[in-house]
Symmetry: C2
Subunit: 129 residues, 2 copies
């Protein structure tokens, strides 16, 4: 049986993919895939997604160079979420942090704090616009 | 500024929450929260979600006893995904595995393999139906 038979895509044909750095266990990001981006991810060994806001197929790192080499693809009991282990080149976040989850809730007033150092600025990654 | 101002809920008022075991880095599950379940999670220190299939507010472990004690709540750059660090009691998965992501893709034929041992059967967790 193909694992594709176990997956449930949304009405829009999408499935959320959690991306984790295999060497550190750090959760880097969550993005959406359609079947084509999942197939391309498997075929090429580099993560590809579907951007809901831009309605566009994209390879992670296509403009930043911060690609993700796939080490493992797991799926959950309900078949509606993917967990992808990767080797991350540079920062995963377009804000220049290793992980997109660089802020945590702090204190009783529902404030927050930055928990990681910024590796690069967006201008350093993408150039000045 | 409250971190709630940074969050973007879907049109249905939901936000996906990735749950990670803090001590091991194992990603346990992904489930959806609405604002009420997030507020209750923060107030009680135990994870609460919104079930889309059952249209129901629920506490993780309410029937299994496998609760999750919250250690940290992070949110991503776009404010549309949460990452919650927890201390997990027992198996997170209703199938009796520590993690819901207990299967990984294997081989060129898109097969898959089970990558964790089953800690308990669903019958042991929930009783015979």
């Amino acid at each position: 049986m193909s694992f594709y038979d176990k997956l449930k895509f949304t009405e829009d044909g999408l499935i959320p993919a959690i991306v984790q750095e295999q060497s550190t266990g750090r959760v880097l990001m969550m993005a959406w895939m359609n079947r084509a981006s999942l197939e391309t991810t498997i075929a090429t060994g580099k993560t590809h997604f579907w951007s809901r806001s831009r309605q566009k197929f994209w390879m992670k790192g296509e403009s930043s160079g911060h690609t993700q080499r796939v080490k493992d693809i797991a799926f959950d009991c309900d078949g509606d979420t993917l967990l992808i282990q990767v080797e991350q080149i540079g920062a995963a976040c377009h804000e220049g942090y290793k992980s997109c989850f660089y802020r945590s809730v702090e204190g009783k007033e529902h404030g927050f704090k930055v928990t990681e150092k910024q590796l690069e600025t967006p201008e350093q990654i993408y150039g000045k616009k």
